[in-house]
C-alpha cells in the first residue's frame, strides 16, 4: 500500500471520528464519544504512518525530502498537527464535545487534499528554492500555528453558540465546557498559535534572506501572515490590557482564523513568490 492510499483511508477515519463526535454530542451518548476518541487516535496513527511512508518513499525515488513541500503534503501535515493538539486538549480537559468542533477541520483538510482535482498527490522533487534546511522549521512552526488557530476558531464557535442560550436551557449546549473554560482555552490556543506563527514568520524571513536576498519583500504570503499576526496581536492586547473576554474575543478569533485561511489558501490566487504552496 502506498502512502496516498493510507492517507485516503485516514480521510475517512477522520470523517468517521468527526461524525461520531458530533453524534455523541447531539444524542448525548458518552460511549459514542469514547469510540470517537479511539477512532481519532487510530486516524492519527494512520496519518503519522502515511507521512513517514511518504518520507521514506521519496528517498526510494531518489528525491528524498520531508513531506512538507506542496499543497497536498501541507494539508496532510495540517490535519496531523490539528488532531495532535486536539487529542492533547481532550486528555487534559476530558471534554469530548470539543472534538465535534475540531476534528471536522482535520477531515476537511484531508478530504480537500485527497479529492481536489487541483492538488497533486504525487511526490515531487524539490525545486531549487525549497532546497533548504529552513523548509522543515518554517513549515512545521507555521502549521502548528495554523492548527492552534483552527482549534481556537472551533472553541470560539462553541462559545458563541453557548451565548445564544444564556440560561443553559438547551440540552444541546449543556455538555459544552463552561463559558469561562471555553474563553480561557481559546486564549491559550491563540497564545500557542501566536508564538508558533511568530516563529514561523521569523524562520520564513531568515530563509528568505538566504534564498532571495531579503528577509522581507512584502510578498502577498508574507503580508498576509503579518496581517494575521496583527489581528491576533490586537486580540491579545485587547484581552490582556483591556480585559476583553468572551464574545468580543470570540469574534476576533473568528476574524483571525479567516486571515489564516486567506494566508493559507487565498494567497495562491494572488501573484507572488510563494507559488509552490499552490498545487
Amino acid at each position: 500500500m502506498d502512502n496516498t492510499t493510507i492517507l485516503s483511508i485516514v480521510t475517512f477515519v477522520y470523517g468517521l471520528a468527526a461524525f461520531l463526535y458530533v453524534a455523541s454530542w447531539v444524542f448525548k451518548k458518552p460511549l459514542v464519544g469514547k469510540l470517537a476518541s479511539w477512532v481519532a487516535v487510530t486516524g492519527f496513527i494512520g496519518n503519522s504512518v502515511g507521512i513517514i511512508m511518504r518520507w521514506v518513499e521519496s528517498y526510494r525515488l531518489g528525491i528524498g525530502h520531508a513531506p512538507l513541500s506542496n499543497m497536498y503534503e501541507s494539508l496532510i501535515f495540517f490535519a496531523w498537527t490539528l488532531v495532535l493538539i486536539y487529542l492533547i486538549i481532550e486528555r487534559k480537559y476530558k471534554n469530548l464535545v470539543i472534538g465535534a468542533f475540531a476534528t471536522p477541520f482535520a477531515f476537511l483538510a484531508m478530504a480537500y487534499a485527497s479529492l481536489s482535482p487541483n492538488i497533486s498527490d504525487r511526490i515531487q522533487p524539490l525545486i531549487p528554492a525549497l532546497k533548504s534546511n529552513w523548509l522543515i522549521a518554517h513549515v512545521i512552526t507555521c502549521f502548528f500555528g495554523y492548527a492552534a488557530f483552527a482549534i481556537a476558531f472551533g472553541l470560539s464557535l462553541m462559545y458563541l453558540l453557548k451565548q445564544k442560550d444564556p440560561d443553559n436551557k438547551s440540552k444541546l449546549f449543556s455538555l459544552f465546557p463552561n463559558s469561562f473554560t471555553l474563553d480561557e482555552l481559546t486564549h491559550q490556543m491563540v497564545v500557542f498559535g501566536y508564538l508558533f506563527l511568530s516563529v514561523g514568520i521569523i524562520t520564513g524571513a531568515v530563509w528568505a534572506n538566504s534564498a532571495w536576498g531579503s528577509y522581507w519583500t512584502w510578498d502577498p504570503k508574507e503580508t498576509w501572515s503579518l496581517i494575521t499576526w496583527f489581528v491576533y496581536s490586537t486580540m491579545l492586547h485587547a484581552r490582556m490590557m483591556r480585559g476583553w473576554r468572551g464574545k468580543r474575543i470570540a469574534y476576533l478569533s473568528v476574524i483571525g482564523f479567516t486571515a489564516v485561511l486567506f494566508t493559507y489558501f487565498g494567497v495562491n490566487y494572488l501573484p507572488g513568490l510563494h507559488s509552490y504552496g499552490g498545487g
Partner: protein, 464 residues
C-alpha cells in the same frame, strides 16, 4: 491602547491593498489594467509601491511611537512592582479568594511550619513566613520579573524597525545578469533605477541548470569568482539557498536565461576562429599527409592531392548522429574527383569522427578541445546568470530583534508571576491548612497548580 488597536488594524487592512494590486510593475501595465482615472489616483497615493509610500511608512512610524510611548508610560509602574526588595504581601487578599484548597492535619503548627517552610522555599524564588492571629502563613512567589516580558516584545519591534531602517539607508538591493565567461563590477538597483558600483568584480565562469526527469528544475548553479584588481580572491559555486557573501555584499542565484542564439553562435564561431574562419584538417588516406586549409562557411575549397572539392554548408548547434546528440558540428559537402557528392558531418568535439566514413580523406576541424563536450550540457547554449546582489548591514539587528521577540513571547505567554499563600490556623485540636494563590496570567493553570500543591502538602505530613 485604543490608538494601538486602531493603528494595528489600519496597517493590517491597508496591507491588503498591496497584496491585491501587484506592486512595482510597469506603469503601462497599470494603465491598461485600471484606466486613466484610477491609474492617476493610485499613483498619486503610491499604491503601486504602497509599502514604501509615505503614508504607509507613517502608519508604521505612528505604531512604533505609540508602542514606545505606551511602554515607557507603563514601564515606570511595572518597574516599581518588579524591583522590590521585600515583596508586599497582604493576607486578607488571599483569604478573599474564592478558589482555595484546604485540609485538616493532626500535626502541631510548629511541625507543619518546619516541614512546609523548606518545601516551599525550594519551589519558589522568594518565600517568607509570617505570624497570624491563630497560626502562621507562608507566602511565596516567583516570576515577578516575567512582568517585563511584554516590554521585550515591544523593544523587539523597535529593534526590527531600526534594523530595517539601517538596511534601507546603508544597504541596497540590486540585480545583474552576467553572461558565462564575463564579468561585471556594477549592479542595477531595484526600484530606483540607478547603477551601484562594487569594490570588486564578479565573474561568472559557468552557469548550469539541471532538470528532474519530470521537467521541473533541479538546480541552478553559477560558478562565480570575485576579482579584486583583476586578481581572483574568492571562488564559489552558488545555488539557490546558498549565496556567496563577500565583504558585506551578498550574491544570490536569482534567475537565468539564454543569450540570443546569434550572439551565441557569433561568440562560439568567432571566439575560436576570427572572422568566421574555419581551419580544416585534411588527412589523405593514400599518402598519410595532413593538410590545413582555412575556409569560411559557403566557400568551396579544393582538397590537396586532387582528392576533390569540399564546402561547409552549415553550422549546427547540436548535431544528431544515430539519434545521439554529438554537440556542435559543421555540415559539409564533399565532391570527390570521380564520384557523387556526399554529406560530411564534422563534430567539433570529435576530430576522429570522419575516420569512420573510411573515405579517401579524413576531414576534421582543427584546434578544438575534445574534452569540453558533455552531452548533458549543450555547449552552444550560452547562458547568462541572473544574480541578486544585496548589501544589508541591518540584518544582524533584525535577527537580534527576532531572537528578542521569541524570548519575549515565551516569557509573556508561558511564564507568569505566581504567588502562593499557605495559611495555617489552629482549629480546635487540629490545624487547618488553606492553600490559595494568584497568577497574573494563565489563571486556569494556576488553579491546577494550587490543587496539586495542596495535595503535596497534605501528603507531606500524612505519614509522619
Amino acid at each position: 491602547m485604543k490608538l494601538t488597536v486602531v493603528l494595528l488594524l489600519s496597517i493590517a487592512v491597508t496591507s491588503i491593498i498591496g497584496t491585491v494590486i501587484p506592486q512595482n510593475e510597469n506603469p503601462a501595465a497599470y494603465f491598461r489594467e485600471y484606466g486613466e482615472f484610477f491609474y492617476q489616483l493610485f499613483s498619486m497615493l503610491g499604491i503601486f509601491d504602497m509599502y514604501h509610500s509615505w503614508w504607509f511608512q507613517l502608519l508604521i512610524l505612528c505604531l512604533t511611537l505609540n508602542i514606545v510611548v505606551c511602554s515607557i508610560e507603563r514601564l515606570s509602574t511595572t518597574w516599581k512592582i518588579v524591583f522590590v526588595n521585600n515583596p508586599p504581601f497582604n493576607i486578607s487578599r488571599f483569604r478573599k479568594l474564592s478558589q482555595k484548597e484546604s485540609f485538616n492535619s493532626g500535626h502541631k503548627l510548629e511541625d507543619l511550619r518546619n516541614t512546609y517552610e523548606p518545601f516551599i522555599a525550594r519551589r519558589f524564588r522568594y518565600s517568607r513566613v509570617e505570624r497570624t492571629d491563630q497560626g502562621f502563613c507562608i507566602f511565596a512567589e516567583k516570576g515577578r520579573w516575567t512582568r517585563l516580558g511584554v516590554y521585550a516584545i515591544h523593544l523587539s519591534v523597535v529593534i526590527l524597525l531600526i534594523g530595517g531602517l539601517i538596511g534601507s539607508v546603508f544597504g541596497f538591493a540590486g540585480y545583474v545578469n552576467i553572461p558565462e565567461g564575463e564579468k561585471v563590477d556594477t549592479v542595477r538597483l531595484r526600484n530606483v533605477d540607478t547603477i551601484e558600483k562594487l569594490d570588486f568584480e564578479i565573474s561568472c565562469e559557468d552557469f548550469d541548470v539541471s532538470f528532474y526527469p519530470n521537467g521541473a528544475p533541479k538546480e541552478y548553479r553559477s560558478s562565480l569568482t570575485i576579482l579584486e584588481g583583476g586578481k581572483p580572491v574568492y571562488k564559489k559555486d552558488i545555488v539557490v539557498n546558498d549565496p556567496l557573501r563577500y565583504k558585506g555584499i551578498n550574491i544570490f542565484q536569482s534567475s537565468y536565461g539564454q543569450m540570443p542564439s546569434d550572439a551565441a553562435r557569433k561568440r562560439k564561431v568567432q571566439g575560436k576562429d576570427t572572422q568566421n574562419e574555419i581551419l580544416l584538417n585534411f588527412t589523405s588516406k593514400k599518402t598519410g599527409t595532413a593538410y590545413q586549409v582555412k575556409t569560411v562557411v559557403g566557400k568551396p575549397i579544393d582538397i590537396p592531392e586532387q582528392i576533390g572539392q569540399f564546402v561547409i554548408v552549415a553550422y549546427k548547434k547540436s548535431a544528431l548522429f544515430g539519434g545521439q546528440d554529438i554537440g556542435e558540428a559543421y555540415v559539409g559537402k564533399l565532391t570527390p574527383k570521380d564520384g557523387n557528392t556526399v554529406d560530411i558531418l564534422l563534430p567539433l568535439h570529435f576530430p576522429q569522427f570522419d575516420k569512420m566514413r573510411k573515405g579517401a580523406v579524413v576531414i576534421s576541424v582543427a584546434g578544438q578541445e575534445t574534452e569540453t563536450f558533455r552531452p548533458d550540457k549543450k555547449p552552444d547554449i550560452w547562458y547568462y546568470t541572473g544574480l541578486q546582489v544585496t548589501k544589508d548591514p541591518g540584518v544582524w539587528v533584525v535577527y537580534t530583534g527576532f531572537i528578542v521577540i521569541i524570548i519575549g513571547c515565551y516569557i509573556t505567554f508561558f511564564m507568569s508571576h505566581q504567588r502562593l499563600c499557605v495559611d495555617v490556623n489552629k482549629s480546635g485540636k487540629n490545624s487547618k491548612v488553606i492553600v490559595t494563590g494568584t497568577a497574573n496570567k494563565n489563571k486556569l493553570g494556576m488553579e491546577n497548580k494550587i490543587k496539586r500543591m495542596a495535595r503535596q502538602l497534605e501528603d507531606l505530613v500524612k505519614e509522619g
